[in-house]
Point group: C2
Chain length 406, copies 2
């Protein structure tokens, strides 16, 4: 990808993604293989006024080696310094950029117990940082950059350099960087605001989802919930885009109320394992049955993480007619794939109910805020998705018809 | 460099360098550019029984960017997580491998105040870890791997790939990996043991150094001092080699006793700045005058770090006839260059006096143990170096004559 476009993309990440403020620290997590692009992001951060760029490097080759060869005990806890790392920069008011380039098969063949233990230990250890990010106390963003392994998975028939370049093109296009990126994103954001305003005004009590694939599920929305999409303000009122790209408008369900069946419309890659053709059946919020044609054990490992992992934590609406959806490309990466389709998440909710900060924990849970240690998106949107809302007065409103906004 | 030799070198680092024990954690610090070799080291660590490999990556491009562009305040303190990082692994009984590949010009043009502040903050923040490493409570080793920038500095007339390969050859040769590395190092270690035994038996009260370059200095050795060279046991009796390569036999001077003048015989590269043709004059242990033909300010910044930085902390004897010396090559890297020549260090001493652990701090200082936060080696050995020892009984013994062991 030519440097100019990479620079535009980096500027988008820095200015719209985390919206770096003068004098702010910027923490960047990335794989060492992405260094050439990451350095462009670091430069953009300084150009935007950052006081310091802190790198949090990973090397997926050694990450995989560790998963395969380290002592099993290692995965059951998280070292104090890793907790302190996030505390230091949360306390300093830093923003967090996550540049992802993961090989979708990174953890293939790793003992699932290790992955589960690591996810659990990290979830517990970094719970406070997760609370701050999910509650928008800190600004953060996730964006992708191709790695050879990821590109090979998406374009298996191309040679390495060709696959990387092709994935770069798709990332740039889906991230709307092909034209003046900052202006494009401002226009993009306006559309989100219209949809969010409509949904917040409607203040639906219940939503139901139905399609020909077999999804037929209803759930209530918590009292005082609100929807978001596009940019969001942090708790100090500074706007940021947590995901680049983003096409979704989302809120949380009352996690105790889902009833029915949801059939995934796309595979889910979780810790290097691709779960295919799966479905979940819910009763009073809880998964009471599940099956998957491929890698059912990985699906089970998600559901078993904790109580909230077997309940929903997010409802996200994405029109079937959207740039990523129209690419008809499986990115094998949630950041992109979730923006191709309506999706739910299992696990922790973004606490999008008014007054959440002042609610006692048990009251929030009673209202249906899922407090799991995990958060895993999965897609269920289709071209014939029908979504119906029921207002507090019992009025039915068609939200999606034929896969798109009604 | 062919993979087989890289594997031998990695095995040497793991088995002789830190001597990884079954179930031990291994921390590796390296630049991301060295990843291909570092992964070989990580694999060797697991093959030797490591329970976990923990990476501490740096990227010199972003390190330099930070030095040039971050807020000046950033360098005045060290984040708590960096202290915690070493505490976690010191507490866990880990060993530490440092793979260096630094661009000698990395910090060229950086405001010296920033470098000085960072060195000071790191020295203070990591004082406990430094105490544990210098006191052999933990096993650690330093070894080198070429980077294009370093190789270009050493072989400025070769194209990039050729320079890297040439530097690899010199590293492999100077590290004695060209033959069966483990056996070669066992034989190498025996020679050290003979010299160490001679010096420890002699138990010199005073040493004097004289050559035609103008060096003419005497200093006392602390009561109860001992010499080391080659492998050293950690405090639990497990042998390790702190440096690969190593050609030196060393101890500490009584830091209050140096009198005379020492003229450097090789340039000193300190934080990216090369100090050339310099000399120091000592009175009662303290530098009372100094000059350098080039980069005198950098020399001054070392001396000003703290009180101990202007006093000696190490005496190291290296014969003029040794493999690295005979290469007649300036590596621009202390790890190699210090093994080409007799050298002193300014700053912190390895506390090599019997019973040090039980000595009160003020008593150790009185005996002459330098407790600075820094430790900087500089070379003064020449082909006509004469070193004379004086025993407690006042007997004169020639230690070096004509640059070599007498």
């Amino acid at each position: 990808m030519d440097i100019k476009r990479q620079e535009s993309y980096a500027e988008l990440i820095v200015k719209k993604g985390v919206n770096v403020q003068e004098g702010q620290k910027v923490v960047i997590r990335a794989d060492i293989g992405s260094a050439p692009f990451v350095r462009i992001v670091a430069k953009a951060a300084y150009d935007a006024g950052a006081s310091q760029v802190i790198m949090n490097w990973a090397d997926e080759v050694i990450t995989r080696m560790n998963y395969l060869r380290a002592d099993a005990e290692v995965f059951k806890s998280i070292e104090p310094w890793r907790v302190q790392f996030f505390k230091d920069y949360d306390d300093a008011g830093a923003c967090f950029i996550n540049i992802i380039s993961d090989d979708p098969d990174l953890l293939a063949g790793v003992e699932p117990e290790r992955i589960k233990n690591a996810a659990k230990a990290t979830g517990i250890g970094l719970a406070e940082h997760r609370r701050l990010t999910m509650g928008n106390h800190v600004r953060w963003t996730i964006a992708g950059v191709p790695s050879p392994a990821w590109a090979a998975k998406v374009f298996p028939n191309l040679p390495e350099a060709g696959a990387v370049e092709a994935l770069w093109e798709k990332i740039i296009e889906s991230s709307r960087v092909h034209q003046d990126a900052l202006a494009t994103w401002e226009a993009h954001d306006k559309v989100f605001k219209e949809k969010v305003e409509f949904l917040n005004k409607a203040a639906f009590k219940q939503l139901s989802f139905k399609n020909s694939l077999g999804t037929d599920i209803t759930m209530e929305l918590p009292q005082g919930h609100f929807w978001k999409g596009g940019s969001a303000p942090d708790t100090k009122g500074v706007d940021f885009f947590p995901n680049i790209p983003t096409e979704e408008v989302f809120t949380l369900p009352n996690c105790h109320t889902a009833n029915g069946r949801v059939v995934a419309s796309m595979p889910l890659t979780y810790n290097g394992v691709t779960i295919e053709n799966f479905e979940l059946t819910f009763k009073d919020g809880k998964v009471v049955a599940y099956k998957a044609e491929k890698n059912e054990a990985a699906l089970a490992s998600i559901l078993e993480l904790d109580e909230g992992a077997g309940m929903l934590g997010e409802i996200a609406l994405v029109p079937y007619k959207s740039p990523i959806s129209e690419m008809k490309l499986l990115f094998n990466c949630t950041l992109y794939d979730e923006n191709a389709s309506c999706h739910f998440a299992l696990g922790k909710a973004y606490p999008m109910i008014h007054g959440y900060e002042d609610l006692p924990k048990d009251e929030a849970l009673k209202r249906g805020v899922n407090e799991s240690i995990t958060h895993v998106d999965f897609m269920f949107g289709t071209a014939d998705m029908e979504i119906t809302g029921i207002t507090a007065e019992g009025k039915e409103v068609v939200v999606f018809a034929g896969g798109n906004w009604a």
